[in-house]
């Protein structure tokens, strides 16, 4: 069981560095956890940072919903821990939420965010490598 960061999952929607590795992960049958905010993050990137049509944005999100991830609801405990850790380490709360979910469950977090891994120094983070 692993936690996947949105920076990893979104690679399935475009052919970019690491896309094949993400496909292997998702196709492995291993249970993969994601916080429910992942859909908002991916929706925001598709809607505001791309030249996709509204229909293509919706199609992309539908595909992400079909990937069979186990969704983790962000409760107050996760959010408070994430906000506190983000403030201490100078990161965004968004990526820290994924890290706190992994930390609390003793799982690996797979991310493509090199700066987040370097800033936090968390030993449970694995950087996605192609």
């Amino acid at each position: 069981m692993k936690v996947l960061d949105a920076s990893v999952v979104i690679k399935l929607l475009i052919h970019e560095q690491g896309s094949n590795k993400v496909r292997e992960l998702v196709d492995s049958g291993e249970v993969l956890l994601v916080p429910d905010i992942i859909f908002v993050e991916i929706a925001n990137t598709l809607a505001t940072k791309t030249r996709l049509s509204p229909a293509q944005v919706i199609r992309g999100l539908e595909l992400v919903y079909q990937m069979g991830f186990r969704e983790i609801h962000i409760n107050k405990e996760i959010l408070l821990a994430s906000a506190s850790a983000a403030k201490k380490m100078g990161t965004a709360v968004y990526d820290m939420i994924y890290a706190q979910i992994a930390k609390k469950r003793g799982l690996k977090l797979i991310t493509a965010d090199v700066n987040f891994a370097r800033k936090t120094g968390f030993d449970f983070i694995t950087l996605l490598k192609d």
């Binding site: 920076s7 475009i14 429910d36 993050e41 991830f69």
Partner: protein, 80 residues
């Protein structure tokens, strides 16, 4: 996988919360509970699913040559 249909007794408050969450996520109570238990249903036809993903990614890549959505998402987090 064999499936079993069962009744489940829940406190009313928890039940209402689950119903509301399911409605907000536009999913069923069944799907929500299965998801929270870590039971995932893979697409019936994995080959077809990956074909759809490939088609989508190909179209998107043509529109965005050399662009990393991953890097855009990461940048987005720090622009809020």
């Amino acid at each position: 996988m064999n499936w079993v249909t069962t009744n489940l007794r829940l406190p009313e408050d928890n039940y209402m919360e689950l119903k509301l969450t399911a409605a907000r996520q536009r999913t069923s109570l069944n799907a929500l509970i299965r998801n929270r238990l870590g039971i995932t249903i893979q697409p019936a036809n994995k080959g077809k699913f990956w074909h759809l993903i490939d088609q989508y990614a190909k179209t998107v890549s043509r529109k965005h040559p050399g662009i990393s959505f991953s890097q855009k998402l990461i940048a987005d987090r720090y622009e809020q």
